[in-house]
């Protein structure tokens, strides 16, 4: 079986590995990143958030719900938060990565709050593939690996449609050979 999970770029080096003394949790290996197109999905999400947040605070400010300067300060905060989220969206997407190791799936995401999860293939209970409206427009899908523990939370977004299906089949067949009960 050829590797069906060769999705986006490989980066053996994590972007922030460049600094010699890192206090980040780094686990080596051949991390696969999600499709750069997923940044588009994130940006649409941020834009929606921005419209709602700025709109709501603007309504408060215009109706003078709060004392005079406070309402506009809130609007400013909403604008700044939205801009920051716009700027870091590409980095957030780049921080998402996964690795198919011999016996487990490794998943990582997050810049500020970084998280690395290892799930042995045998613990798979089911795999979900979801497509949101924007992601579907861009031909992307989201793969969710569900175990018996609700806290596992391995959701790989931004996979090209075909890749998501291939990855699902690969994971299912890997899980089949390493079946465990619960």
């Amino acid at each position: 079986m050829s590797d069906p999970t060769n999705v986006a770029g490989h980066d053996a080096q994590h972007p922030s590995d460049s600094s010699p003394v890192t206090k980040r949790v780094e686990i080596g290996g051949d991390w696969r990143r999600v499709s750069p197109k997923y940044i588009g999905v994130e940006l649409v999400g941020v834009a929606l958030f921005g419209v709602v947040a700025i709109g709501a605070t603007a309504v408060f400010a215009l109706t003078k719900w709060f004392a005079e300067p406070l309402g506009w300060i809130l609007v400013g905060v909403a604008v700044v938060v939205t801009l920051v989220m716009f700027v870091i969206a590409p980095r957030r997407v780049r921080s998402i990565g996964y690795q198919l190791r011999d016996d487990d799936l490794l998943f990582r995401r997050g810049i500020m709050f970084h998280r690395v999860v290892s799930v042995p293939y045998g613990r798979m209970q089911l795999i979900d593939i979801n497509r949101g409206p924007v992601a579907r427009f861009l031909g992307l899908a989201e793969l969710r690996f569900v175990t018996a523990a609700a806290a596992t939370g391995v959701t790989i977004p931004g996979l090209a449609d075909a890749d998501a299906d291939a990855l699902r089949d690969a994971l299912v067949s890997l899980a089949e050979t390493r079946r465990a009960g619960l």
């Binding site: 206090k23 980040r24 949790v25 780094e26 686990i27 016996d103 487990d104 500020m112 709050f113 970084h114 998280r115 690395v116 999860v117 290892s118 799930v119 042995p120 045998g122 613990r123 175990t147 018996a148 523990a149 609700a150 806290a151 596992t152 391995v154 390493r178 079946r179 465990a180 009960g181 619960l182």
Partner: protein, 528 residues
Amino acid sequence: MTEPVAPPLPGGGDWLRLHPATPLLKGGIGLIAVIGFVLANVRERLVEMFVGGPDSGDLFDELNRRGHLGWAIAIVVGGLVLGVAAFYLSWRMHTYRINDEAVEVRSGILFRTHRQARLDRIQGIAITRPFIARLFGAARLELSVAGQDAKVQLAYLRGSDVDRLRHDILLLASTRRAEEGAGAPASDASGSAGIIGRRVTELLAPELDPSEAPPESVVRISPLRLAGSLFASGATIFTIAGIVALGVLAASGRELGFVFLIVPAILGSAGYFARKVTRSLRFSIAATPDGVRVGYGLLTTSNDTLPPGRIHAIEVYQPLLWRPFDWWAIRINRAGHASSGSGSQPATTMLPVGTRADVDKVLGLLLPGLASADTRHLILAGMVSSGPTPGFAVDFVPAPRRGRWLRPFSWRRTGYALAGDAVLLRKGLVWRQLVAVPAARIQSLRIEQGPLSRALDLCSLTLDTVAGPVSATLSVLDRAGSISAFDAISRAATAAGALEDGSRWANGTSFGGPGSADPHPQRPEDVR
């Protein structure tokens, strides 16, 4: 291995019915009340009608005068008959069947449901005897399988059948078929004892059927200790504080709006105590060939069988106030959540309160691999000490000193150890906790780092298990050390998962008792 001889299926694999009193126990008592009420009234009226009496002009007279009495009676009687018929029909239609593969239940009159639970997916079998059902000699059997509201309930069955049924189901679900199949006791010859005598015997019988379990529970909790443990708990302090506050407020004679906040809280804590007490009275835990059996309850009794390998995490903990008495409690995570309504959540308490020796015995039952001689010191260290344990090869990997910025007290105790087939986590200086997760039950492994931990070169490590009261998280660990531990634990989890498939269990290997040093107690080689 010998040729597997099919054990006798309960009922020969046919569809069986539940206890005839089931409709009554399931809420038919209301119907009885209606019948009784109507009968009482009608009898009175009939007597008056024939004997004659003072005319009071009530409903019956009114109806009589208008000539509708016949209709009214017909409607009431018709409704009752319909109700009785519905109950009877639902009893007739509610059948269950047990075969090699699964337990099946069919129920419903208009909307039929057919539920099937695979035997190799059973997470536990619980027998509950609610007080009223016990008077009828009935009991409820619940097979829990993993998943929300995914249990199969057989309510109600004959109390005398239910233990044998559980035995048979466990037998079918396990691999020990051949040798036990012929020897299943079939003692149905108790018909002559008289129904009252039987009920009394059943009411007084010990919670664990002596023939099914070793006669004595490994721990014994005296009522005095139970009372003490309840008294020395946070809930007591809360309640006392509430009562004192109430008294002060009442004495000061100011506005009593607070009362409406405090009184419900006190009532709630009274309910909490009552539940605690009923769940802990007559507590027993014992090893059986098919798993650990936990029994409890005074009026409503329950006992719960956990097949081997169904325990996902174990926590030994000690609330602050128990420390002078050196009391400990044990609780577990297990798959299979009871639906909220029935009030019969699966038992997660494996030891309500006990001494260190009790903890040792119970852990020996729950995780035999861990109680061997070369890891026992780890358990002790995990329970009481902080810092290193000199003189042993395997020890807790401690958190670094810089962890004190985030956990000023508990960083000394924070540590993990990989011992045999389990991962041990030690944490909490005030509220001491020792968490053990069997490597085969780890669902996933997480390492997390927020901005503060990054500044301190720390991170947190979490072993994800099925949902339950135990959480296996350590927060202030050295980053580099955690990464290697992350690798080691994920390898251990994979290896342990590959060794067993967790469905059928091989008897005999699993419960060798506390002395067995078998590092992989649930070995499935001869399963398939």
